[in-house]
């Protein structure tokens, strides 16, 4: 798994390749926190290349959403495949996050 950080205008994009689970969640959390502390306020996590997410990964997203909101920013998600969409629906986290079907739509939504 790996996390790649990209910029599109004033949006900071995190690409999650592989899994987002208990063994690597802290790595993503720290990367996002570093960007927030560097001034990022519009944050997009793109799951196009993500295989699966566990409850720890979901927990990190919830934690980061709070942190970014407290900083006056916004965390949004994009590109959930059918299984990931089901995961968010099962846990009702689809009601907590703004989720877009593509990166382009997510970028437009900010």
């Amino acid at each position: 798994m790996s996390f790649t950080v990209k910029k599109a205008n004033d949006v900071t994009i995190f690409e999650v390749e592989g899994t987002l689970i208990v063994g690597n969640r802290q790595e993503l959390k720290q990367k996002v926190i570093d960007e927030i502390e560097g001034g990022a306020r519009k944050v997009l996590v793109d799951f196009e290349k993500t295989t699966y997410i566990d409850s720890s990964g979901l927990g990190v997203l919830v934690s980061l959403a709070k942190k970014i909101r407290e900083s006056g920013g916004d965390l949004r998600l994009a590109n959930l495949n059918d299984d990931l969409q089901t995961l968010f629906e099962l846990t009702k986290l689809d009601t907590l996050f703004q989720i877009s079907e593509s990166r382009e739509r997510a970028l437009e939504s900010f």
């Binding site: 689970i21 208990v22 699966y52 566990d54 409850s55 919830v62 934690s63 299984d83 846990t91 009702k92």
Partner: protein
């Protein structure tokens, strides 16, 4: 091998049986998940089981065993036993912890008061993604999960 209330655990033999022992390190979870998934692929489980149900539920069980059961104590191990055939996956995850009350510990993370919690979704997901989950005492604390091989169209999730 422990025999729980349902009375049919992994056989421990046969071409699709698996027995692994790993240290209490969350970095060791993915290879175990991959090994179990490979056997389920060999048994022609539906794609959704392969890509979603099994990886997520097994990661949760291993994570609980390592973090809660064994408290990430490197001197303690987690044992995994799996048996796969054309009808079902039966997988057991055993740790050295004191065990827990499955029903009492399973929260509903979808309620308004729990939705914003960072934790508390693991057991809920295991029980939603597998057909059967139970916890019992073997030589250690055992969580056994069963997933029947059938079309994932039959499932709500």
């Amino acid at each position: 091998m422990g025999q729980g209330p349902v009375g049919h655990g992994p056989s421990g033999h046969g071409p699709l049986a698996l027995e692994l022992e790993i240290p209490s390190d969350v970095g060791r979870i993915e290879p175990v998940v991959a090994a179990v998934v490979r056997r389920c692929e060999d048994a022609a489980f539906p794609d959704r089981h392969i890509a979603f149900h099994i990886p997520v539920a097994l990661t949760e069980a291993l994570s609980n065993a390592i973090l809660r059961g064994n408290g990430e104590d490197a001197s303690k191990s987690v044992r995994v036993r799996a048996a796969v055939d054309t009808s079902a996956l039966v997988v057991e995850v055993e740790d050295d912890g004191v065990g827990f009350d499955l029903d009492a510990c399973t929260l509903d993370p979808t309620t308004i008061e729990n939705l914003g919690r960072e934790d508390g979704r693991g057991l809920f997901l295991m029980r939603r993604l597998m057909d059967h989950v139970e916890q019992f005492r073997g030589s250690g604390n055992v969580v056994r999960m069963i997933l029947y091989r059938r079309s994932s169209d039959d499932r709500a999730a």
